[in-house]
Amino acid sequence: MKDSKLRVILRHTVLTILALLSMALSWIIWTNPARYERSHQQVSSEKVQSSQVSHDMSDVILPTQLIRTDSDQKQTLLAKSQVNLNQVVTDKVAKWKFESVRMVSKGNKERYLDYAREANSLLLKYPSNIAGGVLNEVLDQKLDFSSEVGRIVISLDKNNGVYLLNDKNYGVYQVQVSGQDLSSLKESLTGSKRSVDVKESILNHNLITEYQDSYQVPNYSYVINKQSNGMFSSNLLANDDSATVTTKKEKDSTIYSDGNRKQLTINKDGTARFEDYTRKGTDGNSLRAHIENGFYQLREMGVPMDNMRFFNYTDRHDEVVFRSYVEGYPIFNDNDYGTVTVSHNNSGRVTDFSLYGLEIPVPADKKETELPSTKMVLSQLEATGINSDDISDIQIGYQWTSAKGSGSTINLTPTWYVNYKNNWYPYDQVSTQG
């Protein structure tokens, strides 16, 4: 019995289709990320989260200051009291597409300042440099750019006028942008409630924001929240089923340990240290890896992250610091409450943090505090014999002090903070640091 030609062709076709389909299905199944995410999510869903809103890196790595330069190069610091303007602006920029980047200047301080003071522009200042890869991640871009960047200048009257600035080497990089919607960006800037006259200038290789006049800065009060020891020990130590956590109580602290590689020490004053020797020191890793690892560590702990911002990175111990912020200003505390520091030594990763965090804002006793202009503070410091070369940065910050007669309420009082010999001090205490 001879097959008709049609039948032969039909069989061939069916076989080919079936074979191709099986290949396609295998490919889809093998490359489907859900295969891996499923097991991953089962772990994370068991985590105790202090806040039920999940956070991405773009919530923590944000510019904290927005400076608008007008056509006469007059600069003002923008703030709106009801809207998180920094978030609004970065959300808008994240909708643009950064196509390509080229260096336009490097090592030239004057040119660098010209860009930071470009007429009709908006300057976004991150607290310190982040890696290009991190910038891609938080602004949802795919730019081929690996240098460090800490400032972004956006021209408000011409397209493609986006510049990435790196204080360390005075590098300026111009970005080609598509889908840029400048009018909607400008619209979001109108009606800024508070605006302060400032001037960008450079202090020891650092672009600082000089307040031209004395300035009334609002005071804040907060009810603070003390997280439980149990939350941290379960988030940090008991995250795989086999771990048995032992607890040892000492005079001033409680030590939780999973037996050998991880240890959590919680002190009576609410400060805590987590040592993780399963994570190798990250010598030679990139800035991007350090910031990312720091962020993942922060998220794993389960501390409330609403007010947390990436603050800085220092080479020494590959230290990444996250600090609580209020209305664009960092908060400092003698015990480092509200601060998370992720650092590395030869044998592993060390995270210092505290059980306390800001929870609910309450009306403050005193509405405002008057702070002197930046120039005044710097000349005052010089007058007390401080070598200006030892000052690498100056900015307004809030001092976290407990309110009288109330254990759970704290006051945030603004003052000038000075980075003196790589430590931050209130400006009136620098002279006592020697």
Partner: protein, 317 residues
């Protein structure tokens, strides 16, 4: 011939393989569905329907809101001289006023008459700050609320309540007033209506065989400090059991999703309760045995709530 056989065998083998791969692909897809966030909500909503809980379609959109501060010292309400045609006095910081000439209102549309009445400064102090709230109003009471960020205040301190009798006659009103309403912080993202209701269900706060009457975003008092009161964006959810006339109001902190509770004194013993009778007496006809069973449920809900979230906001009201 041989080639034909081999070819047929291959067709069968590949068909079986494809069927297997397709099944496994399908299973994977289902796995993703249960793990993504919005679909988790959908699953919970389905569970709720299985528990005979009925509700209108809920919204998934997220809006923004801020912590606000206010004062409720009654100084503003002491300006009683400006009021005409009524006798007023202050009780517990609230203005209680009786009208010389009672107002006649249409019981089904009371706001038609009252809207005009409220806006006139010789009738109501700061009357322009209040807006009619249809959700809180009942046959016996018409509720106007102050607004924070264009959202109603679901606490007595910011409400103006008219009592209406069976004939539609309004004899007087009770007014609470919040002064100096100000944002405390810049606004932040809030949870969606769907998320608020599903949290409430997960806290075991929605009894079987009940109906969600409404779920509104408003402001309620979170705490009071020396320098004033703090108000927080809150999802207020009204739940009506199908077997009774009771409406209960539950409150979910719209920032954190944590349930807000009040501690009230009931016949000498402190219990936690959130019935409408305590929060907003407007439409509650508290049934004694109902409220006891509810209190028990609340207690179990509390434990599930605190296991779901380690930080628990305790609201005092």
């Amino acid at each position: 011939m041989n080639f034909k056989r081999i070819e047929l065998m291959f067709i069968v083998v590949f068909a079986v393989l494809d069927a297997f791969l397709f099944a496994s692909f399908w299973q994977n897809q289902a796995g993703i569905h249960t793990t993504t966030n919005s679909n988790r909500n959908a699953t919970i909503l389905k569970e709720m329907r299985n528990d005979q809980i009925t509700f209108e379609p809920l919204s998934n959109s997220k809006s923004k809101g801020y912590y606000a501060s206010a004062n409720n010292n009654s100084n503003d309400l002491r300006n009683m001289k400006q009021l005409v045609g009524q006798s007023s006095h202050l009780v517990d910081g609230k203005l209680v006023s009786t009208l010389d000439t009672p107002l006649q209102v249409d019981r089904s549309h009371p706001s038609k008459v009252l809207n005009n009445f409220v806006k006139i400064s010789s009738n109501i102090i700061h009357g322009t700050e209040y807006e009619y709230n249809g959700s809180l109003s009942t046959d016996d009471q018409v509720v106007y609320t102050q607004m924070i960020d264009d959202r109603p205040v679901y606490s007595h301190q910011g409400q103006l309540i008219f009592d209406v009798n069976g004939q539609g006659v309004v004899n007087g009103y009770t007014q609470g007033y919040l002064a100096n309403i100000e944002p405390l912080r810049e606004s932040d993202e809030l949870i969606s209506q769907t998320r608020a209701v599903t949290w409430l269900y997960q806290y075991n706060e929605i009894p079987n065989d009940s109906r969600i009457e409404w779920a509104n975003l408003g402001y309620t008092r979170l705490l009071s400090s020396d320098n004033g009161l703090v108000y927080v964006p809150t999802w207020v959810v009204a739940i009506k059991s199908k077997s009774s006339q009771n409406i209960q109001l539950k409150r979910i902190n719209a920032f954190t999703g944590v349930m807000l509770k009040r501690v009230t004194q009931q016949s000498g013993e402190t219990t936690t309760s959130d019935t409408l009778g305590n929060e907003d007496t407007s439409s509650s006809t508290a049934n004694k045995s109902e409220s006891t069973t509810q209190s028990n449920k609340t207690a179990s809900g509390q434990s599930s709530a605190s296991s779901a979230s380690s930080s628990s906001n305790t609201a005092e009201e």
